[in-house]
């Protein structure tokens, strides 16, 4: 069954007619995702690469029956695009855009009804359920079908983890990049809850990074009774304090949010924590083989 996306996903692309939107819409369609159209204000009524283009999300959803939206809108307009998707009742909104002002996201998250719309991202690579669907920019050809879930704040570390799993003969149920910004729609814990209820996911890799307390929340959640094996890594063990490491959310502020604290918290909750990102695949293979 996988989580969030599957064969029934019907995808709209907001910002379809832009360079990135076009490229990734085609990639998603080539992977087997049902892409039903796009939205670019002012280009409604035209077609782009064979897909119908609409002016507004409400029109697009009405005409196509879409149940997911993928956003490639530039940062100044992206928060508004998220609100538009939510107002049109789209249950899954994935925002790839990097560089949205933090206060825009604070307002947006406060306005979205999280019971009706799940936002993934922003500043994320999206998600993929190999063999079924992909909504985002994770390269499909590196993924194999399988029973391991991945959730990560970083995009390229997702690719690394997938590659290592393939190396040890393991595949993926669903892989989700939740985003590197300080404020994001879907947390690690939200994702673990979904993986917990998914009978096609046997184990999960959690890839965190410095900044914030999301990894500590993972530890607390696992302690409350998450049953599946978890392998964890936290990037930024060597990051200098007070500096923003590429991602807007990756900063050790006032000695808080360090990799060491997060790794300790995860390990104390029973997560198989690896010091080196190069050990993710092997650690997962070991975790699965040593299960009772």
């Amino acid at each position: 069954m996988a989580i969030l996306i599957d064969k029934d996903t019907r995808l709209l692309v907001q910002g379809l007619t832009g360079r990135e939107g076009t490229f990734h819409a085609k990639q998603s369609a080539a992977y087997g995702t049902t892409v039903v159209g796009g939205v670019t204000p002012g280009k409604g009524g035209t077609t782009h690469e064979g897909w119908p283009v609409f002016d507004t999300m409400v029109q697009a959803v009405e005409a196509t029956g879409a149940n997911a939206s993928l956003i490639f809108v530039p940062p100044p307009f992206a928060a508004d695009a998220i609100l538009e998707a939510a107002s049109a009742g789209v249950p899954l909104v994935v925002c790839i855009t990097e560089g949205i002002p933090t206060l825009d996201m604070a307002r947006t998250l406060a306005l979205i009804d999280s019971r009706a719309t799940r936002l993934v991202g922003p500043n994320c690579p999206g998600l993929i359920s190999p063999g079924r669907s992909k909504v985002g920019i994770i390269p499909g050809h590196i993924c194999c079908e399988g029973r391991v879930g991945i959730v990560s704040r970083s995009g390229t570390l997702v690719y690394e983890a997938i590659h290592q799993l393939t190396g040890v003969g393991l595949g993926l149920s669903t892989c989700i990049g939740i985003g590197g910004d300080p404020l994001i729609g879907t947390s690690f814990v939200d994702t673990l809850q979904l993986f917990s209820g998914d009978n096609e996911t046997d184990a999960v890799i959690v890839i965190g990074e410095i900044g914030g307390t999301a990894e500590e929340e993972v530890a607390a959640y696992i302690r409350r009774g998450f049953k599946k094996p978890v392998v964890g890594f936290v990037a930024g063990q060597t990051a200098p304090p007070g500096r923003r490491m590429g991602h807007a959310g990756a900063i050790v502020a006032n000695g808080k949010g360090t990799a060491a604290e997060k790794m300790d918290a995860l390990a104390a909750a029973g997560v198989h924590v690896v010091e080196s990102p190069a050990d993710l695949g092997a650690a997962m293979a070991l975790a699965l083989s040593s299960r009772p």
């Binding site: 940062p75 100044p76 560089g99 949205i100 002002p101 933090t102 206060l103 825009d104 604070a106 307002r107 998250l109 406060a110 306005l111 690579p125 920019i137 994770i138 390269p139 590196i142 990560s152 704040r153 970083s154 995009g155 390229t156 570390l157 690719y159 690394e160 590659h163 590197g180 300080p182 404020l183 890839i207 990074e209 410095i210 900044g211 914030g212 307390t213 929340e217 890594f233 990037a235 930024g236 063990q237 060597t238 990051a239 200098p240 500096r243 923003r244 490491m245 590429g246 991602h247 807007a248 959310g249 990756a250 006032n254 000695g255 990799a259 010091e275 080196s276 990102p277 190069a278 050990d279």
Partner: protein, 385 residues
């Protein structure tokens, strides 16, 4: 983005937060003039650098009259000011803020920052101002009171009143304090700040509230809509190589080690620093060329990397998802030739079109080591450095 104290006060003043009278100067002569114009018995001369702890480091001095202000300014201008936040080399003082001396009765703390877990700004207030607030938070957390502002509704007046009463202000001071708090919140919104601090907020013997010190950090992602604030950036406060990197939209942070690294994606770049450390080496930098880098980006990144004289070996760790390995190989070959690389190079490359990329690198005649995995690459490069 960080800005100077005098700039932060200018911004706060514009939003109705009371600040001491004063002016910024770049010469001792000007310091004399400003002190004369202020006309107070005592003036305070404050070094303007992007670091805290200036007082303890000797960067904040009081002076009696214009002549002494000029002398103090003479001493401060051009000095390398060392504080606990600058590192041992310190920061060069190029500007001073000369302000009226105030008769201070009490020092308070007022701050606004984004609470990531709550998803909204939180205002913090404390009766213990003028001290390191992180220390107060660690030692006596009960002395800090907090109110979360709703992201769309803002900070309500009753919340500001709760804070004002919470830090023990008497009835006559609550109204002006509430006004300052609400103006502070407006400043936070209007500037897209990520941190705003008044430490201390002082009460003078005359019963006036003033922002004696101020700090504003701005959200880089929002600068596109604040052209006026973007102009406040002081490039001389930043590492020159980092300034150069930012011109090419590269995420580069200079560190103290000897192994230069070039990686795509922030997470993988941090992880690469971690594996270098685990292999016994020290990274010379964080460098994320971005998920969709092209040959030109790779070339610019390489130039910045080797401009750091501490770099004894270079490690390229790229996972080509969208970025194809053949494009990457082309970029590396051109860059290595152009900069005439003198240090050992280790390349770990994986992902789309990797075989093609490897062939191109091998056919190039360049001297480098190919690594199969990230861990192996890190071990190699540490041995070579």
């Amino acid at each position: 983005m960080k800005i100077h104290e005098y700039q932060a006060k200018m911004v706060l003043g514009r939003h109705g937060v009371p600040i001491p009278k004063g002016d910024v100067v770049v010469s001792a002569f000007e310091a004399h003039q400003v002190a004369e114009r202020l006309g107070t018995d005592v003036v305070v001369v404050k070094a303007q650098i992007h670091a805290g702890g200036r007082g303890k480091g000797g960067g904040i001095r009081s002076a009696r009259g214009p002549a002494e202000a000029e002398r103090v300014a003479e001493e401060l201008l051009g000095m390398q000011l060392v504080t606990h936040q600058t590192g041992p080399e310190g920061r060069k003082v190029a500007r001073l803020l000369v302000e009226e001396g105030l008769d201070i009765e009490r020092e308070l703390y007022l701050g606004l920052v984004l609470d990531r877990a709550a998803g909204c700004p939180v205002m913090m207030a404390s009766a213990t101002g003028g001290m390191d607030i992180e220390q107060v938070a660690a030692d006596t957390p009960a002395l800090i009171v907090r109110e979360h502002a709703h992201p769309t509704a803002g900070l309500a007046a009753y919340q500001a009143r709760k804070l004002a009463f919470g830090i023990g202000l008497g009835a006559t001071l609550v109204a002006p304090a509430v006004e300052i708090m609400r103006n502070l919140y407006q400043t936070f919104l209007a500037t897209d700040a990520s941190l705003l601090e008044i430490n201390p907020l002082v009460i003078t013997r005359g019963g006036q509230l003033l922002a004696l010190d101020a700090k504003i950090d701005l959200d880089d992602n929002a600068l596109f809509r604040h052209k006026d604030l973007a102009k406040l950036r002081d490039l001389s406060e930043e590492e020159p190589l980092e300034v150069e990197a930012s011109k090419h939209s590269l995420n580069y942070i200079r560190l103290d080690g000897t192994i230069g690294c070039m990686v795509n994606g922030a997470g993988l770049a941090m992880a690469t620093m971690d594996v270098i450390k685990l292999a016994g080496g020290e990274p010379a930098n964080f460098l994320d060329v971005g998920g969709g880098a092209n040959a030109e980006q790779i070339r610019n990144a390489f130039k910045i990397l080797v401009a750091d004289a501490n770099v004894k070996a270079v490690f390229i760790n790229i996972f080509g998802g969208i970025l194809r390995c053949d494009v990457l190989a082309k970029g590396i070959i051109a860059a290595v030739r152009e900069v005439d690389l003198q240090v050992p190079l280790v390349i770990r490359m994986e992902g789309t079109n990797v075989e093609q990329g490897w062939k191109m690198l091998q056919a190039s005649g360049l001297s480098f080591t190919l690594a199969e995995t990230m861990a192996q690459g890190a071990e190699h490069v540490v041995r070579l450095a």
